[in-house]
């Protein structure tokens, strides 16, 4: 079995709640870390697929588990969904882009809001080109586009309305919130399917963020987030595993995430891994949950290895666990700490764990 095949089987087994040969190790490395590590400014990173591809190939060939998460995928910043819904996108120098809210006045602006169309709206066509080009380039090196990513309906709604107004609308005008969520959900479904197609239809999983959702009470989340997330995961391409991301507080929501149809969740360090394992570990694959701002960025490799050992021993038994960060890795994280995570998975994550 090749190293690449072993990594794929390991990842899929964990996603399917089984015990692979060992726990996959997949810290969430995104543009911030890549840019810092490879000394690329934001304009170069976002403007050059070749630069992205070279960085991913360099890292993933060294750490094969990484090709399945974060995986080979196009890097395009956080504003694509919002841009397709009419938001103006700001590009600060050396920072990730952000969206200006487009719904400033509910009565005036909401009637004009229409779902984003990936073939023509905002930055989505560019992203589709990136995915398509990436798939073509990867084919020559025997790799595939393995992952998709999008912001979930609540995150998108918070961007296009502005997070403060959006949260207050829950009390001021709940019907308007449902209208916004409906349109954002349609946009997300279209975006997920377009990514899948443009990327060569080989994606194993698509991750959806729900960070803003966890700022809601359980009652409000069930009313304003759950039905839309469920619709989104129902509308994903067939065979693709839905993965949820929420590095915020999830303790009051975590069981409900099972109802969304997602098969895996990456969650924040606020919820101890053993508690998550106990509460949802037999229903969802757990990704996590090393805080990217703590030991990962500032600890020694020995401290990282010890923290990973603890996670592996608590969440590894029984399978369905992927050793990961709870969110995207900081650019300050030293390569040595990444190596320490991988080393820990090899030393303490081989099944049977603790046997």
């Amino acid at each position: 079995m090749t190293t690449q095949t072993a990594a794929r089987e390991r990842f899929l087994a964990a996603l399917n709640l089984q015990e692979p040969d060992r726990v996959p190790v997949c810290p969430w490395i995104t543009s911030d870390w890549f840019q810092g590590h490879y000394d690329l400014d934001a304009a170069t990173w976002y403007g050059s697929l070749d630069a992205q591809l070279e960085a991913m190939l360099n890292l993933y060939e060294r750490f094969p588990d990484f090709q399945y998460f974060p995986g080979f995928r196009a890097s395009y910043g956080s504003t694509v969904e919002a841009s397709s819904l009419g938001c103006e996108i700001k590009w600060p120098k050396n920072a990730t882009p952000y969206a200006e809210p487009v719904i400033k006045d509910l009565s005036e602006d909401l009637p004009n809001l229409k779902p984003g169309d990936p073939s023509k709206d905002g930055r989505m066509p560019q992203v589709m080109e990136l995915y398509s080009e990436l798939a073509n380039k990867l084919a020559t090196s025997n790799y595939e586009v393995t992952s998709g990513f999008l912001h979930g309906p609540i995150d998108v709604a918070a961007e296009i309305r502005g997070i403060t107004d959006f949260f207050m609308d829950i009390y001021r005008d709940p019907e308007a919130v449902h209208t916004i969520m409906d349109i954002c959900t349609e946009t997300c479904i279209a975006f997920a399917n377009a990514q899948y197609k443009a990327g060569g239809s080989n994606m194993l999983h698509i991750m959806v963020s729900d960070d803003s959702g966890s700022q809601l009470s359980e009652k409000h989340w069930k009313e304003f987030a759950l039905p839309y997330l469920k619709r989104l995961f129902d509308g994903m391409p067939e065979g693709v595993v839905g993965v949820l991301h929420n590095c915020s507080r999830v303790s009051h929501l975590i069981e409900h995430y099972i109802e969304t149809g997602a098969k895996a969740i990456q969650f924040g360090e606020d919820l101890p891994i053993e508690v998550a394992k106990e509460r949802v570990g037999d229903k969802m694959c757990l990704f996590g949950n090393m805080g990217p701002l703590g030991i990962m960025s500032n600890g020694t490799p020995e401290e990282v290895e010890a923290a990973c050992k603890d996670l592996l021993q608590k969440a590894g038994p029984g399978g369905g666990y992927i050793l990961s960060s709870s969110g995207s890795v900081n650019r300050e994280m030293p390569l040595e700490n990444l190596e320490a995570m991988v080393r820990a998975a090899e030393k303490y994550g081989t099944y049977p764990i603790g046997g």
Binding site: G77, F149, I163, M168, Q215
Partner: protein, 130 residues
Amino acid sequence: MEQADKFNQQIANSIVHLDADAAAASTRDAVEAGVDVMSIIDDGIGAGMTEVGEKYQADEYHLPELLYAEEVMRISLEAINKAAESSETPGVTEEAEAHLMELSRSWVGQLSSCVTRLFRYDDERNKLAG
């Protein structure tokens, strides 16, 4: 005194229950009934906001409740000004304004810690798709 307590309790309850209409009405009624404005601010609005903060700390309330409570508080304060314009009550005196500033500072402190946390998530989110 009993009457003032009753009005202030109504104001506090309407803020805690995030009922903007009730907050405006009970504040207006209190001013028109001659309840001291400083007492309304401290024992009505302030007491309500303090309870909202406690509920947030206890995870009973979340960010939307915290943000909307601030809007209900503003509506209540506007009701004081409106009622004061149309009655012979002293309205918002300098002393009352000073009290209000003090109250706002402690409240802003709570809000800013929430917003800081939110910005952390925003920052995190901004990095995600990259």
